[in-house]
């Protein structure tokens, strides 16, 4: 397992410097460890960064993922890019509101984003502006809340849809005694 600082991280530092000089202070770049750089960017800067990185030789669109930070009311979109020459993954992360906010599509920069965006759209309900076909991808005839959202309760859904009883109940729990004795504080 590679750990921070085991080897010199020339490439990583160079890319960090380049991104910082090109995009200014709004973009925060952290070197997480060797081969991994995380870039926190505001929404409007995300696509320019992707375009810039593509031009820098980050050919591989490894992954587009979405994290539902329900407490903050945000979706975090993480674009994971890789360059063979630098041997570095850059994870460009941006936050959008959970409701009523869309993200411009990246398919004009990376073709590979096509299916990833479809998946994220289906699983989280994130809208990608300008995507030609955000339709059914993995699910068929799905109605209701996108399943990967944190507030989608799959067990309750299963109970209802498949007519299965008592899934939400844990099968073995200690019987809680509701009354806490006279020592109760309130």
């Amino acid at each position: 397992m590679l750990k921070n600082g085991v080897l010199k991280m020339k490439n990583e530092e160079q890319i960090k410097k380049d991104i910082e000089t090109t995009f200014g202070e709004l973009v925060k770049v952290h070197i997480k460890r060797r081969h991994r750089i995380k870039v926190d960017a505001p929404k409007n800067m995300t696509l320019p960064i992707l375009a810039y990185l593509k031009q820098r030789g980050f050919h591989q669109f490894t992954l587009l993922t979405c994290v539902d930070w329900i407490k903050k009311g945000m979706f975090e979109l993480v674009y994971n890019l890789y360059s063979l020459d630098y041997n570095v993954h850059v994870l460009v992360s941006t936050h959008i509101n959970r409701e009523n906010e869309s993200m411009p599509t990246a398919i004009n920069i990376y073709e590979m984003a096509f299916d990833y965006e479809r998946e994220i759209h289906e699983m989280f309900g994130v809208e990608f502006e300008g995507h030609p076909r955000l339709g059914e991808f993995l699910l068929e005839d799905w109605k209701g809340m996108p399943p990967m959202r944190k507030d989608f309760d799959t067990r309750a859904y299963v109970e209802e849809k498949f007519n299965v009883k008592d899934l939400t109940k844990e099968l073995f729990t200690r019987k809680e005694q509701p009354y806490r004795g006279p020592g109760s504080n309130g």
Binding site: E140, P147, F152, T154, V158, V164
Partner: protein
């Protein structure tokens, strides 16, 4: 009839329809190490030619539609073998929003094997049991489907739109 039952029991053509994890133990069962063909069981490419439908593991709703359709295309008598825990009571995917839990609600099942996934030996034993049942004329789950057609359709309609996915002229 007896002769038919006998030949049916000795010649089970299974549909080459592998869904889910159980499909991974089918190749070893089919191929040289365990050699299922010794019992006259061979994979067939289309439902029309098959007698035996293997549900090798979980079924997503999307697959279930196709399975029901394929099942209805199979000529009777037809047999269904439920493979592994997932077909019995949901198995690993008991809380997955996209996987059906009890196969018997949607199509009748003749025999189940436990396991996640079952070993080839267990699969062969299940085939032999099925073979015995057919020879005795006991494997009659397919009749249930015709008799309780409405019930099965009702259950199916709970998970997907039956109208949209049914073949009109067939039962």
């Amino acid at each position: 009839m007896k002769l038919f039952n006998f030949s049916q029991s000795r010649s089970l053509w299974m549909m080459h329809f592998c869904t889910g994890c159980g499909a991974m133990e089918m190749p070893p069962t089919m191929t040289s190490r365990f050699d299922m063909e010794r019992f006259g069981i061979i994979p067939m490419a289309t439902p029309r030619q098959s007698d035996l439908l293997l549900i090798t593991g979980y079924l997503t709703i999307k697959t279930l539609k196709r399975v029901v359709r394929a099942y209805e295309q199979m000529p009777t008598p037809r047999y269904v073998l439920g493979f592994g825990s997932c077909t019995i009571n949901g198995g690993m995917y008991w809380d997955s929003y996209n996987v059906i839990k009890k196969l018997e609600l949607y199509i009748p099942v003749d025999i189940y094997i436990n396991g996640c996934m079952p070993r080839p030996e267990a699969i062969i034993d299940a085939f032999l049991k099925l073979r015995e049942m057919i020879a005795k004329g006991e494997a009659n789950a397919w009749k249930k489907y015709i008799e309780n057609y409405e019930w099965y359709k009702k259950n199916q309609s709970e998970v997907f739109d039956v109208e949209k996915w049914s073949i009109k002229n067939e039962k």
